[in-house]
Subunit: 319 residues, 2 copies
């Protein structure tokens, strides 16, 4: 029954996504969010087709104009004709998952552009704040022909650090009058960012923010090979400074490739993803309702036939 | 070489702990915190000897007099001659691990009492806030002859919920003037507690706190079989109300046993512990520096021989 075979269903959907069908992309990402077996089948289909996209992480505190900046960056990328994918991961909103394409108000300019895929992802409250579905959703967009995939996160707490393990290049966005947040974000943010943006550059205090940022970078950023972390002044509402950002993104891509850093980052990213998937699969297997492996392990311990550490080892070895 | 065999070393230490040697107990708990292989050997030795202790969780917001209450409860339990173990798990202090016995100032009355073991445990910042070492440390105290093991936690955020999966009976401690905290703690705290204590009952507002607590319990606590959750007024500094607490602890123990709830709670506790140990063991095995299982999985994916989901499955199956 080829119609109900999930593999052929997924392959068909992937073909349609590659042909530019926005709804097929949306459907694939929904399927990933829905179930782990779906995710497995989709990964088999899209992984061989992925690898060409550049993944750019965009992060910054609430209020810096992140969504407006993202919209302006999409416009800049679209003038070059590239198909663009956007994943909006908002750890502050557990209800953003399953949202429709083009659901973000500021992105509405692009909602009718068939070369742009925009999608919110739920975070499901895991440790670290970024959605477990993000890496595979990135591969779906990659396989669907997006040359650039932007991952936008709300930069609160841990998530600035997270974004750097999902992206090739991380752009940290700030705004005037947020000097406190530079200090509060500690060295982590300076290490994490590859490109720094002072958005709302038409506002009072923009030069001060740039100066403080430059000082913070000088203090805390360890030199990363030959890459000098640039600071770009932008006004996302007018598009001012966006072509400069584009130039730095291009330069960073070349630098990553030539220095071997791209390979390192992608290996690190893959390592974390596979580990997380293995933990998720362990969970599924020990809670399997038929085998009831974990319940049987508990029984053995409760009857005095094993100690908990020994039972855990036996569980792992019986997988 | 029997001297260097970890099993005989541990067995010797366990024998000394059972004979009442405080330092042997301290040493065993330090060994658990130090390394996973130690923990395995210790679990094999203590698990068959554990099971008799009643585990009582004590939780409450900072400022309610939790440590003073714990000290008063130790005094009350000691008048019955029971050996008492105390584990202080403080998620707000990552540096409390490895602290010596009797390190908590308010516990100093008991520091020279050989029938009382007091120990701080580090939380190592895991999700949930309670130390991974806590269940095994509880078994060490149990095997060392403690009839009661008290687990004291700072009741912030998630940890009230955690404590209920570590303990047979959970005591929630409040103090006058903390009506806001009752509301803020939501229904979870009302569900979690088996016995509620209004400490500092000599202070103004104690009756109001009791009334508010009673109302909150009436609203949110689902009936748990035949157990009526009592509210006890105490003044821990004078010992007032402690014998009443002791009576309710005794009554709850009988109720748990007769209703079958004790068995359910211990099964649930064991299930969570074995799952956590299995995840930890998975981590150790895939990061093994000789096998390099995870690195080899990454290699396969990077060369296009597998997709990440498939690589994770192969990793699990190759354990």
């Amino acid at each position: 029954m080829p119609v109900t075979d999930p593999h052929s269903l997924v392959r068909d959907m992937v073909d349609r996504a590659r042909a530019g069908e926005v709804r097929a992309v949306a459907r694939l990402i929904s399927m990933i969010e829905d179930s782990v077996p779906n995710a497995r089948v989709i990964d088999m289909a899209v992984s061989p087709l992925a690898g060409a996209a550049r993944v750019v992480g965009l992060t910054g505190a609430p209020g810096v104009g992140k969504s407006t900046f993202t919209a302006a960056l999409i416009t800049a990328l679209r003038t070059r004709g590239d198909r663009v994918g956007v994943l909006a991961v908002d750890p502050t909103s557990p209800f953003s998952g399953g949202a429709l394409l083009g659901d973000r108000i500021r992105m509405q300019d692009h909602a009718k552009d068939k070369g742009v895929y925009i999608r919110s992802l739920a975070t499901r409250g895991q440790l670290g704040g970024l959605s477990a579905a993000t890496p595979l959703a990135t591969r779906v967009l990659d396989a669907a022909g997006c040359r650039s995939v932007l991952i936008e996160t709300v930069g609160v707490g841990q998530s600035e650090v997270d974004i750097s393990v999902l992206a090739d290049t991380t752009v940290v966005i700030l705004a005037p009058g947020m000097g406190d947040s530079i200090q509060a974000s500690k060295a982590g943010l300076m290490e994490t960012g590859d490109i720094f943006v002072v958005n709302k550059a038409d506002r009072e205090g923009a030069a001060t923010t740039r100066r403080e940022l430059r000082a913070a970078l000088a203090r805390s950023a360890r030199p990363q090979g030959s890459w000098q972390k640039p600071i770009v002044m932008t006004t996302a509402t007018t598009g001012e400074g966006l072509s400069e950002v584009l130039g730095h993104l291009e330069a960073h891509a070349v630098n990553l490739e030539e220095s071997g850093e791209l390979e390192l980052r992608r290996r690190n990213r893959m390592m974390r993803e596979i580990e997380a998937l293995a933990v998720a699969e362990l969970h599924d297997r020990i809670f399997d309702p038929i085998d009831r492996k974990l319940e049987r392990a508990v029984d053995r311990v409760m009857r005095g036939h094993a100690d908990p550490h020994g039972a855990a080892t036996a569980l792992i070895e019986g997988l």
